[in-house]
Structure formats: C-alpha cells, structure tokens
Assembly symmetry: C2
C-alpha cells in the first residue's frame, strides 16, 4: 500500500506525463476528456481526472471539459428498458467531441471501466446497445483514425477493475496495487518520467525504422494453436509511440505503449490464430478463443467463454471480418514481465504481439489520409465500426518476416526480438 501523500505525488507525475508526452497539449488548446466505451468517464476516474485537469491548466489549457458517464446506468437500461429502445443514444456526446475536434482541441480517453460491467446480462440486448453505440460513434472513430487532433488513451484504477485484476486482495489493497501497476507501466515511478518517455519513444522508433526498411510482404506466426500468415500491403508504414496529428502536434496515442505497429492487408490473411489473453469487450470478457482466416476473411471463431459475443463483433459489418492493425511487442516488455493480466486492452496489448479486426489507421499507409474509402480498401486498408485488438503473442511464439522475394527472416523468436538495432 502506498501512503496517501506518495499516491498524490505519483498521480500528479502520471498526469503530467499524460498531458506533456501523451497529448503534448499546446498552450491555449482546449481539452476534452471522454470514454466512448462507457458513454463518458466513469466516476471512479474522478481523482485522476482532477490531476489531469490541474496538469492541463498548468500547461496553459484554455478549458478542460469532461463527458462523465456511468456504467450502472447502462446496466439498468439493459435490465429494464423496452426491448425496442436500444437505438436511443446520447447524440450530444458525439456532437460534443466532434465540435471540439473541429476546433482543434485535444482528446483524452480515460478508462476506469468495470471489465465485468455487463456480466450475466442478455447478449442480444448488449449487442443491440453496442451496435447503436458503434454506429453513432463512427464519426469520432474516423477523425481519430486519421489523427485529426492530438489524442491519447490512458487508464485510471477503479474499484471493480482492481478487484478483477487482484481478486485475492482486500478492496483497498487491490486498488492501491492497480494504481501502482499503472504508475510503473507508465513510468510515473521513475525519477524523471518525461525523460524516461523520451528515451523509450526513441527505442521504439529504431525498431519501427528497421521493420520499415525491410518492406516485408507478409508476417508468419507460429505458436501453440497458431499457424497464421498475414499480408502487409505496399506502402505500409511502421509506427511506434509517436504520431503527428493533422493539427501539427506530435503526440503519443497510448500510455503505456510498448508496440510497433502497421497496416495488415485486409485481403491477405490465412490460417488460425489463437488468443493468448482474454479480451475485455464492452463489459464482457471473451476467453480462450481463436480465429480462423481464409483469403483475409474470418470464417470461424471459437471461444470457451462468450463465443456469442465474439461472433457478434465479427458480424457487425464486413470490415469486422478482416484485419485493421498488426503490432509487435516483445513478451518481456515491462508489461509482459508482470505476472498478472490487466483485463484491459490498453495494458494487455502492450504485454504481447496483437492484431486488431476492424478499422485501420489511415496513417499506417503512405498517403492513406488522402485516399477515398474505396481507394483505401483497394490498397489493403480496412473500414469498420469496430477496432478490436486481441493478443496473440507469448514466449512460445515465433514470427518470420517474408520478404518481397519470398524469403523468410526471423523477426521474433520465443516472443523476443530476433534482430539487433
């Protein structure tokens, strides 16, 4: 357990890193804080939001606005609202974020969600509510996927999340331990978090540069339950940590981030890939699952828990049957080294190589932002209401790069980088 004073100090350091490295908030910029998944930031995120707000005003923010939400309201709705009412949606949330994006404001997403928020509730109702959400939210997704403004996704501890991660601890102890895990993985516990982040970002850039120079045609994955190839399209761009937004600000979109990532070819994916971590999606946990691709398309899903929810994700639209992102993370990353799951993609995806089905990032393709939707798809990009990452890496995973000439080169062996930089 951390003493209260020390906790406040770490919270302030974390918040400062989020504002200065994550968002790189500019003087005079406005900041909007949201969480799409729970229709606003859950109240458990309050303490952290206050710290971010102080850091933002200290960095010269003109105005900080929060869209607050409450998962219990969603639960009550799923339990008690009329069956035909799930198209109702708080459209003003969308307008709020879109107005601020159009004004060039920064966008922070704060997760403080309960991984089991919708546990035991009706899957049909959950899917209907989620579908309305994805449809309404897609204009924001489109703006974010083109980096219209500087944005960042981070997390705050929350009572239910902490208890999920550390079920054997008392409530208060679990929350303190989850905070400690967040502080450590976001480098807030280091003497100079800002400098540590600058060093870390430089390291990721070197890995991305190596992969960029290789211009691999495909990646081949081999591990327990996995025998899988995905294509990389012409013009794919490897990125890591930092991006430049259309408003000119260089930002770091995730904290923590341990990945380098690029665009897979939506037309080329073959074989079966097994998830190595559970997937927390919209209040439900999908466990022990695998996905089989043919000609780039998912033809089969299999899950020991919540297979119906996984199938519903894939059935959302055509783009949800195809890949939108591929990312490499070594299994002994600061998050991979930890001996527990987070049940939260922001963290678990940085413990492990992962892929995402659904919407691709325009900036992972050369000239991607200028293409029409049709041109983007023809070039290998993907469009969808969804962008769902899931984890496929482990210490038992080997990855080869397949060159334009069809030769195989080791990229990862037993979950670790197989090349020096």
């Amino acid at each position: 357990m951390i003493a209260k004073e020390q906790h406040q100090e770490l919270l302030a350091k974390y918040a400062e890193a989020v504002v200065r490295v994550g968002l790189n908030l500019r003087k005079g910029q406005r900041l909007i804080i949201n969480n799409g998944a729970s229709r606003g930031v859950p109240p458990a995120g309050r303490e952290f939001i206050y710290a971010v707000t102080k850091a933002a005003y200290a960095a010269g923010a003109k105005y900080v606005e929060v869209i607050w939400g409450d998962e219990e309201m969603l639960r009550l709705r799923l339990q008690h609202a009329p069956a035909d009412s799930f198209n109702e949606y708080p459209k003003f949330h969308i307008q709020a974020v879109m107005d601020m994006i159009q004004n060039g404001d920064a966008l922070l997403s704060v997760y403080a969600n309960d991984p089991d928020a919708f546990d035991g509730l009706d899957a049909e109702r959950i899917a209907a509510m989620q579908r309305a959400h994805l449809t309404q939210y897609s204009p924001i997704g489109a703006q974010v996927s083109r980096n219209a403004i500087n944005w960042c996704v981070v997390a705050s501890s929350s009572p239910s999340w902490a208890k999920k991660v550390f079920p054997d601890l008392e409530q208060e102890e679990a929350e303190a331990k989850l905070w400690q895990a967040i502080f450590e993985t976001t480098r807030a516990t280091l003497p100079d978090p800002i400098a540590a982040w600058e060093g870390h970002i430089a390291n990721l850039k070197v890995r991305a540069k190596y992969m960029q120079a290789k211009k691999y045609s495909a990646l081949y994955y081999k591990g327990p339950g996995t025998d899988f190839t995905l294509g990389l399209p012409h013009g794919h761009i490897w990125g890591g940590a930092q991006s430049m937004a259309e408003n000119g600000v260089i930002f770091t979109a995730n904290m923590p981030t341990e990945e380098i990532f690029t665009l897979p070819d939506r037309h080329r994916a073959e074989g079966t890939v097994a998830a190595t971590f559970p997937l927390s999606y919209g209040g439900s946990l999908i466990e022990d699952f695998s996905v089989t691709f043919e000609n780039g398309r998912i033809v089969k899903v299999n899950a020991k828990k919540n297979e119906a929810i996984l199938q519903k994700i894939v059935d959302t639209d055509e783009g949800s049957t195809r890949l939108g992102e591929v990312a490499l993370v070594n299994a002994t990353s600061p998050i991979g080294k930890r001996d527990h799951l987070f049940y939260n993609t922001l963290f678990d995806e940085n413990a492990s190589c992962h892929i995402a089905i659904g919407r691709a990032y325009r900036f992972t393709l050369t000239g991607g932002a200028e293409l029409t939707d049709e041109e983007f798809i023809a070039a290998g990009g993907n469009l969808s209401l969804n962008h769902v990452d899931f984890m496929i890496g482990s210490p038992h995973m080997d990855i080869d790069g397949i060159t334009q000439n069809g030769e195989r080169e080791p990229v990862m062996r037993s979950g670790e980088w197989a090349f020096d930089v």
Copy 2:
C-alpha cells in the same frame, strides 16, 4: 440513522413519487436528468438517480439519459484557468436538453450540490463563469418557464450539503439525517406517498383558488426590517403544485412544494424587504440581507456576507433588478416547522413566503405564453437570465391583500394563513 434496507425502501418510494407525481412520466416518454447549476448532476446524486431510473423504466420510460457534472471541475477551473477563458462553455449540455425538450421528453433537475462549493474563490471569476452559464442556459430557462414539457426539481442528499445542514453530526450521520429530512418533506415516509401528494395538491389548489377569486391589486408585507408593497398585474394567475405542460402532461414542478404563487407586477414594488433565510447561490451563501425597491426597481442591496455576489446578481441584466415571482407559504408548513435551514432554495423557499427577482413564468399570466416579449413586459411580466428566489416570511410577518378598491384584507398574520377555505 436508518438501516440500509429501510433507506433503500424510502429511496424507492421517493423516486416513485418523483416519477409519478412530480414528472407524471408518460409511457414511452424519454427522460433527461440534469442540474444546470453544477453543469450536470454531481456524483453524490448517483444512488438517487439509479432509483429514479428504475422507477422511470417501471413507468414505461423509453430511455433515461443523465447529464453528469462535477463541482470540483468548476472549482479547479475557477482556480487555474486563464482569466480570459470563462466564456468557454459546454454547449453540448444545452443542445442535449433542447433536443430532448423539442422531442417532448420529460426533464428532471436533481440537486445534490455543495452550498459552499466556491467558498473562498475569486468573486470576479465566479461572476464571469456564472454569467456565461446564464447566457448559454437561457434557451432552456425560456422553455421551462413556459412549461414546454413536464419538468420537476428535486434533491438528493450529498456529503458536503449534509455537513452544512447538520455541522455537529458525524459525516455519515449527517447524510442519513438529511436523507430523512428529504424523505419526510417529500412525504416518502408516509404509508402511501402518492395518495398523500394527491391530498396535499388538492389543499394547495383550494388556497390558490381563494386568492384567484380576490384579484388583489397588490400585497403589503410588514415584519422586522420589512415594509414592502408589491403590485399584482391584471390577469395574474395563482398556481400551486400542479401545472399542465404544453405537451399536455399535468405535473408537479417541485418536490417538496408548499407554496401558492403568482406573477408580481415588474413595474410596481416599493419599500424594503428583509430576507429571513440565507440564500445559497451558485456555490456561495449570501447572508443577512435586504433589498430596497423604488418603482418596481431594486435601488439598494445590503448583506452582511457576500453583498458583492448579491449585487452581481442584481447587475446581471435589467430584469434582475425587478421581481418575477411571489409565493405564499405558511410559517408552520412541514418545512417551516423544522428547526434547521436547508441552505437550498428548493427546501427553504417552502418554509417561508418568498419572492424571486428575474425571469417570470409565462403561465402565471392569463395568455402569457402567446405574448411577445414586449407585450409580456408591458403586462407586468419580467424577462431575465436570472430567476433567484429568496425567503422573506417568518412567524413575525403580516401580509395584507389590497383590493381593486384599495381596501386591505388580512392574507397572513404572524406567518399563518389569515383566511379559511
């Protein structure tokens, strides 16, 4: 202290009375829950909001939406934001409520505010932020003041409010005691709250009918520090408890409510009136104050605490220098009989006769909803960004009605009704 189970039961009964008597929510209607003063419902209101949400879905609501707020965010802004930034405003809150009003949805305002939220902060900054709020909020005020939809204002206990009302009690005990006070004054502790409300509403209607038949030209107030006359315009309508909204729903706009009220003539008010309760306004408490009128206009304010804030309210606009509502409550009303203040107008105004400066209700003038702004003003109505009630009644107050012939008749003596019905 109330046992937890009993508390939940009372909360459910209170919520049901709010939904069925206050809002009279119709099957298939949507409900939006907000609190303008704190830019959304404070998190302290959560438990009560859940109870209201369950009651609303049980009554057939199609959808329940909450705009959540957080007074601490306002405090941080007042402390740290740039001085020239207070025109920034979460406009999406306004759009959200306006969209739902235009759709014919019901509107519930839930107070769970800290009466001292802005204690010790800069009065200029508070006034600048408040002014932006009132300006942005005025379209909603205009819709509510014409009863465009069924609406209701109620309260939830909150930690800081409870401690203000019961400063000598331990935190938990203070909250339980404030809940008990809310339950008692909203009749939730009675065996059948719905039936009790029906009886109470009928009683208020009989008082209003008596006053309506009198068609007094003016009311004269005499008490300690008070020697005051206000005019009542031709066509003034006495109301109590229930109104009919433009969407056809008969609703009860405040819970609790002990008042009958009508439109004062903005052109006729003379003399000095002393407040008998402190006024909690936008996070500050104005205490021991009086207001002096000449020709309907406030020419002088005097307050022992926060006179500057009182003066700023009056200086907001021309309409803030004149009256918009007059209400009669006997001093031994269920709230007047209690031995403590609530530091919240919703309750304190129902302990005491009161008047409001600022915006008048269109429905308190015959044909008021059809008049242009100019015609409404000419007829004695008032327009303003503000509508601020303050309490002037006490067991030492006498009120006379002045007939069209200039005769005086007793309306109240020593704070009690002076006529039988």
